[in-house]
């Protein structure tokens, strides 16, 4: 059975001398069962015989997801992450990839009001959900107050983690507008800023929480 072949890539990679046991390969193996679980809830057409998967174990699915207020019908593969779809398929490159293993937070977006790591959500899991990315925050030249505060307080250096830091801040302040210093630090502790502009980030977020 094909499924059985799908379950082995981790071991195969070790043998072939490849350094990494990648999360993606792991998902390729695991993806079938995960996908099956998700598919039972989602409206997905059955796989056609002629859509031969390029890589073993890869299935295609169609998801309907609202991204930045717009509904998308997306053909995705079962091992693609939401981050893959945002950056690669939709060109929404404001959401960044740093670790790709849910340990840095650079890919933080908001799903149904909650900050999530887009690198660790399979695209098929975003089916029927509402996603907001950094691109939706400003209205043309009119910046969101969080963005304005980040600029004013110099709450960034290289800026690579900044969109995610702002999305985590938004998720926090949307649900807790008068967040305390402890709550701010807790909410942003999943976002690594290697430049460590943390004192300025704290100041920017605190200025908003104190104004609310």
């Amino acid at each position: 059975m094909e499924e059985e072949q799908d379950m082995s890539p981790v071991g195969e990679e070790r043998e072939s001398g490849k350094l990494r046991v990648s999360r993606r390969s792991f998902l390729k193996g695991m993806g079938v069962s995960t996908a099956a679980a998700a598919m039972s809830q989602a409206v997905v057409p059955p796989l056609e015989a002629e859509t031969a998967p390029l890589v073993k174990g890869v299935r295609e699915a169609t998801i309907v997801t609202e991204i930045n207020g717009r509904k998308y019908r997306l053909a995705v593969k079962s091992h693609w992450t939401l981050l893959d779809v945002l950056r690669r398929e939709l060109g929404l490159t404001g959401t960044k990839k740093t670790c790709d293993r849910s340990s840095c937070g650079a890919c933080t977006v908001i799903m149904d009001g909650k900050a999530i790591y887009a690198c660790s959500l399979l695209a098929i899991e975003a089916d029927q959900h509402k996603i907001t990315t950094i691109e939706a925050l400003s209205d043309g030249e009119n910046l969101h107050p969080i963005q304005a505060a980040f600029i004013r307080e110099d709450a960034l250096q290289c800026g690579f983690c900044t969109p995610a830091m702002i999305m985590s801040t938004k998720a926090l302040l949307d649900s807790n507008p008068r967040a305390s210093l402890t709550e701010i630090k807790e909410a942003l502790s999943g976002n690594i800023c290697r430049c460590a502009a943390y004192p300025k980030i704290t100041k920017a977020v605190l200025s908003l929480a104190q104004k609310a």
Binding site: S16, K56, L143, C158, I166
Partner: protein
């Protein structure tokens, strides 16, 4: 006092902040091109192995694979003296064996598994001192000690110095391999079109990449266009042409399709240039009054498989041989190849390692003498007149004493012993460390340049080869140009790091660009201003020397009524004014970033947890160009340096040579929750050479936190630590050993 400056010294948010907060900033990793191929590297599973055979036919046969290259296909070019592009001898786990180019990432990854490599596994060595033994496996035919002999530096008579000493203290210190871990990985996208190569690269040195690629592909520099408009950090790792840019360029040329490579995070951990681990032996002789009589040191730098610097160990040794004045010094530096990942700079070349060792050593000496650690440092620090004893060049300014005194005052150092007796399990402690190391070099033959264009409406474009890697280089260049020209900062736009549009002013490394790039821009702005005043003198029929420009308005001396700059700029004979700044650097000049940092910590003796409560960071910046950005730099450096002190360690398994924590989860960086109160003090010693007296601030904040924290921990619990990082486990082990 009213500042003589209009722009310099005023807090300025970043010029490119809007792009960054909106997610519109396009980093090199954000570019996609139609038909783009994706590159993946086959990496060695062995720390040391000869490739006896390699069969790529199955990988090449996989639909979607467009190229597979191995060492046999590579030009002789090496990114550094030891590193081949693709290797026929694997020298660390993760060494680059082959590259696959395919239509998508998944296919490339699958193709990697189809390459058959026949390895002849060789014995390996991971430790630098082991690697120096005659029986050790050799990475290179010439042996593992780079240069074949240690570098020996001496001054005075070290034996005489020890004979004069009342106390001699000797100890060994160790620092681990640490990772720059910038948010953006190493990424390159190469496009070959019309005989010209364009590379979007995440690089601190666009011109270094341009030169390297031109050399590797045997094409003229004019045919290589390197762009890095936005960059997700570098911290030293990305200052040089590496393997990946060249591989992308080769594939793009061979296939005629754009080729993109981005190292996955686990690859980045092993495939970049890590900060080399160091073993540092220090032996200091000191009189009862605290005067240093002799400094002897031996440094072993573990430079990994491919050292970016032959002088890696010398960089460490520079610290004990230059920070304090001492007539008698002797040092031996060993830079050693081992079967571990390649190494290079990370917020300095060797100074964080050396500063940790020296500042803990000095603290112990103070304790032995019964002397205030601050007093000991004040007594011995190298004065302005001493100059840089290591490089034998004068200091361009020296704010060390002010850093120590103002830092101690802000920290209330004198009150530190007034803490109530500590009976509970959580102990409080206080520590200090100073730092004085050369950075931001101007060396003969090194590029220094900048360009300024004044448009017919009086607005200004600045072009600098500096890379904006997060430290605010764009803003700094814009501020310097605005100050020099006398224009409003809001009228200035800045273009950086584009080899077609800007000029080489050295890689953005070594805390350099405020000084070198800044000087280039300042000279260019002065040149443009001179041309503007020539035009104004004719237009306004006045003597040129009576003219000045302020806030984009031209004034004649003695009159408050000015002429808007656009009216003058519009009269430029060529329709535009173009200012050039370029300088032949006559002699070696190094800028010294003096600093004193003070740390207050709490150590929980039950679980070994160290909580840093406060850091006071006093730094000599020469002149502060942008106080907002400078403060951000200092705070960021302090926090990164704290991580070096208590948590960061890239661990290589001794049995297999495998890096066991190549990810952001197990490589422990500090988060926002670990950040203490940080008070920055900016000392302005007004440098004799830097623009407006400015010096760099990129690297200096990083080195002092680790020793200041180590000293504070010792002050709290009475246990000394000579090895980094000082983790919870280390604290508990230290407490246990002290009890025994």
């Amino acid at each position: 006092m009213i500042s003589e400056f209009r722009v310099v010294g005023k807090p300025q948010p970043k010029l490119d902040a809007i792009e960054k907060v909106t997610g519109r900033a396009k980093y090199s990793s954000d570019y996609v091109l139609p038909g783009m191929l994706h590159l993946k590297i086959l990496r060695s599973p062995y720390p040391h192995a000869r490739i006896v055979g390699i069969d790529t036919s199955a990988a090449l046969a996989l639909p979607g694979v467009k190229a597979v290259l191995t060492h046999k296909d590579m030009p002789a070019y090496r990114p550094n003296p030891w590193m081949p592009l693709l290797t026929d001898v694997a020298r660390f786990v993760g060494d680059d064996i082959a590259v696959v180019a395919a239509v998508d990432e998944d296919t490339a990854i699958e193709a990697l598994g189809l390459i058959k490599v026949n390895y002849q596994v060789l014995p390996f060595v991971l430790d630098p001192e082991e690697a120096l033994k005659p029986s050790a496996p050799k990475l290179f035919p010439e042996g593992n000690l780079i240069g074949g002999a240690p570098t020996v530096v001496s001054r005075g008579d070290v034996e005489k110095g020890f004979a004069e000493a009342d106390i001699i203290y000797e100890a060994r210190y160790k620092t681990p391999t640490v990772n720059q871990a910038p948010a953006e990985s190493r990424v390159s996208l190469a496009k070959w079109e019309g005989g010209r190569l364009t590379i979007w690269d995440s690089t601190q040195g666009p011109f270094e990449v341009q030169k390297g690629v031109a050399k590797a592909l045997h094409i003229p520099m004019s045919k290589v266009h390197v762009i890095c408009e936005f960059m997700g950090g570098g911290f030293g790792d990305k200052g040089y042409p590496g393997r990946h840019q060249i591989l992308a360029a080769l594939i793009a040329r061979q296939t005629g399709r754009p080729a993109r490579i981005e190292l996955d995070r686990d690859e980045y951990y092993v495939a970049g240039l890590r900060r080399y681990a160091a073993v540092i032996d220090l032996k200091y002789g000191v009189k009862k009054d605290g005067t240093l009589t002799a400094i002897q040191t031996k440094v072993f730098a573990n430079s990994g498989a491919y050292a970016q610097f032959a002088a890696a160990a010398l960089g460490v040794m520079q610290v004990p041989m230059s920070v304090y004045r001492c007539a008698n010094m002797q040092g031996e530096a060993y830079t050693v190849s081992t079967n571990t990942p390649a190494t290079g700079p990370f917020r300095c070349v060797g100074h964080p390692q050396g500063t940790f060792a020296q500042e803990v050593h000095m603290d112990i000496i103070a304790q032995k003498l019964g002397m205030d650690p601050v007093e000991l440092r004040l007594k011995n620090y190298a004065r302005l007149e001493d100059g840089d004893q290591f490089r034998k060049i004068p200091f361009t300014s020296n704010g060390m004493e002010e850093c120590i005194l103002r830092g101690a005052e802000a920290f209330k150092w004198k009150d530190r012993m007034k803490v109530a007796s500590q009976t509970g399990p959580v102990k409080r402690g206080f520590g200090v460390a100073v730092h004085a190391c050369s950075h931001g070099g101007m060396m003969p033959g090194m590029p220094l340049s900048g360009m300024v264009k004044v448009n017919s409406d009086g607005t200004v474009n600045v072009f600098s080869g500096a890379t904006e890697l997060g430290a605010g280089q764009k803003t700094t260049m814009g501020m310097i140009a605005a100050e020099e020209l006398g224009v409003l900062f809001s009228s200035v736009s800045v273009t950086t790091a584009d080899t077609d549009m800007t000029t080489d002013t050295g890689a953005t490394s070594g805390s350099r660009q405020t000084i070198t790039g800044g000087t280039g821009v300042k000279m260019a702005a002065a040149d443009a201003k001179n041309q503007l005043l020539d035009i104004a003198a004719v237009e306004l029929k006045v003597d040129k020397k009576d003219l000045s420009i302020r806030d984009s308005v031209v004034y004649v001396a003695g009159s408050d009524k000015g002429t808007p700059l656009d009216q003058i700029a519009a009269k430029a004979p060529g329709g535009v004014i173009f200012g050039r700044g370029v300088m032949k650097i006559p002699t070696n000049v190094f800028f010294h970033g003096f600093a004193a940092q003070f740390a207050e910590v709490e150590v929980d003796t039950r679980n070994g947890h160290v909580k840093v409560l406060k850091i006071v960071a006093a730094h000599d910046l020469g002149r502060v160009i942008n106080p907002l950005g400078a403060e951000n730099q200092i705070e960021g450096g302090v926090i990164q340096g704290m991580g070096f002190g208590v948590s960061e360690d890239q661990i290589i398994d001794k049995a297999s040579g495998v890096c066991v924590n190549p990810n952001h989860l197990n490589y422990k960086m500090l988060t926002i929750k670990d950040v203490p109160e940080i008070q920055t003090i900016m000392v302005e010693s007004v440098d004799a050479v830097g623009p407006y007296g400015a010096k760099g601030i990129g690297e200096p904040p990083y080195s002092p936190p680790a020793p200041a924290i180590a000293n504070a921990i010792s002050n709290a619990i009475g246990v000394r630590f000579s090895e980094l990082p000082i983790t919870n486990r280390a604290i508990l082990m230290g407490l246990k050993a002290a009890k025994a």
